[in-house]
Symmetry: C2
Subunit: 241 residues, 2 copies
DNA sequence: CAGTGGTCTAGACCACTGC
DNA sequence: CAGTGGTCTAGACCACTGA
């Protein structure tokens, strides 16, 4: 575990301690952390200082406050890449969960690129999943997912029905691994023959590639994923200041 | 001007008042706003409340604090789209300002799409600028820029040298208009014949289109811009939680 | 050195939640 | 109603900046 730097302000040290407890799963996502008064008492600081520490955790997205109820460990809600990056409108605001079709799933020795990204020993075992996502029966996203086998072995034994359409809840339910944040890199590349075939597009037509590295609360990489979709339906919005 | 809602918490009302003063240019970007003690005195609230109001403004990117010096109106620094979205590395961390070549500049009656985006009367006069941006002499970005003529007429009278490579500082210097924030929408489209020609690419090859709507501190749209670059060099990174 | 923002405290009262 | 987080105050002291 990381040591707490003694020179830091009180509220920062307190933030680090609470964050560390969340990382080691002292409270699960959705659970309430102790009240501000309790934290102030146990850490022998003023309530204002506790509030400032929690302010930081809220800004970082680790916890959520709810007036009158308490402060809760946040379960990050990763909107499907489909709706964040592609023009498949949610039906009148409702989010439709796209259908998932797992095409292949196997354990193998990890390619160098993958073991490096996942920060596991070179050549160690990893799991690779090929998955196709469909909306109204039409293929819209082809995904290639890599996991360190040491932490995710149970995934290989599940039936496709047990895995279900969403992977992150399954990771949590079956492997006890919670995704806290992710880094995504977008590029545009021509689709190769097999991917284009899956997406029912002409080979070589432009595709958007979303490379995602997902991290747990402890900061270790959990999953590396590459999703490809048709560039024609890509749209992404940002605000800058 | 927007009225201040009486039911809001003190620190929110204070925030709104300071934001309104920034919007009407009571202090210019880079200038210091009054000290926390002064604000507390003039508004007859505790310093803690002032600090909370300023916390919000900092989070919104309107001001920046500097310990021991003061709190300053922030001048948003829009990194060139080139380096935010395309793989043209800055040389050892330094930002190179790309060369700008203005190809055309004229006033005309605004197309419906443009007047709607700029929130000016249908058919009113606008300025259109075609600009090519180059790095080491190679064209990398083709831009089409639209401005409401009522606010930006002086731009038409400048020589290209007077305009310089960066437009936003010129808007501020010549027209007194400061860009506070912007919304950008990314899409991928085949490049049309003239754009591809400008970028020295085959027509129809995939391009990334960045549609940007820039706003002033008062929230009114100032500029609408569409930049096109080669999709092959596109790369964008995000972190999600 | 005076003046600025940054940290921390202690306590009062308000507004919302759920029993 | 008790218990939670949200607002607000008043004041002490610290750390940094620039003259």
């Amino acid at each position: 575990m990381k040591p707490i730097d003694e020179r830091l302000p009180l509220y920062q040290k307190l933030r680090d301690q609470i964050a560390a407890q969340i990382a080691r799963n002292a409270w699960h996502p959705g659970e309430a952390i102790p009240t501000e008064a309790e934290l102030a008492a146990t850490h022998k600081v003023a309530v204002g200082t506790v509030r400032k520490a929690i302010d930081v955790l809220v800004a970082e997205g680790l916890v959520e406050r709810s007036q009158g109820r308490g402060t809760f460990v946040r379960r990050p809600n990763f909107d499907s890449s489909l709706f964040r990056f592609f023009r498949y409108q949610k039906e009148n605001g409702m989010r439709r969960v796209p259908e998932s079709r797992i095409l292949q799933r196997e354990g193998l020795a990890g390619p160098a690129e993958v073991t490096a990204a996942l920060d596991v020993p070179k050549g160690s075992k990893v799991i690779r999943i090929f998955r196709l996502r469909l909306l109204d029966g039409s293929p819209v996203l082809a995904e290639e997912i890599w996991l360190p086998k040491a932490r995710f072995a149970p995934i290989l034994k599940l039936t496709p029905e047990e895995i279900g359409p969403l992977l992150y809840p399954t990771y949590e339910r079956v492997c006890g691994e919670v995704v806290a944040r992710a880094e995504e890199t977008l590029t545009v590349e021509p689709l190769d023959q097999p991917t284009a075939r899956l997406l029912a597009l002409p080979p070589g037509s432009p595709g958007v590639v979303i490379a995602r590295l997902a991290f747990g609360y402890d900061g270790r990489p959990l999953e590396w994923r590459r999703s490809r979709g048709p560039a024609a339906t890509f749209r992404y919005q940002i605000e800058i200041r």
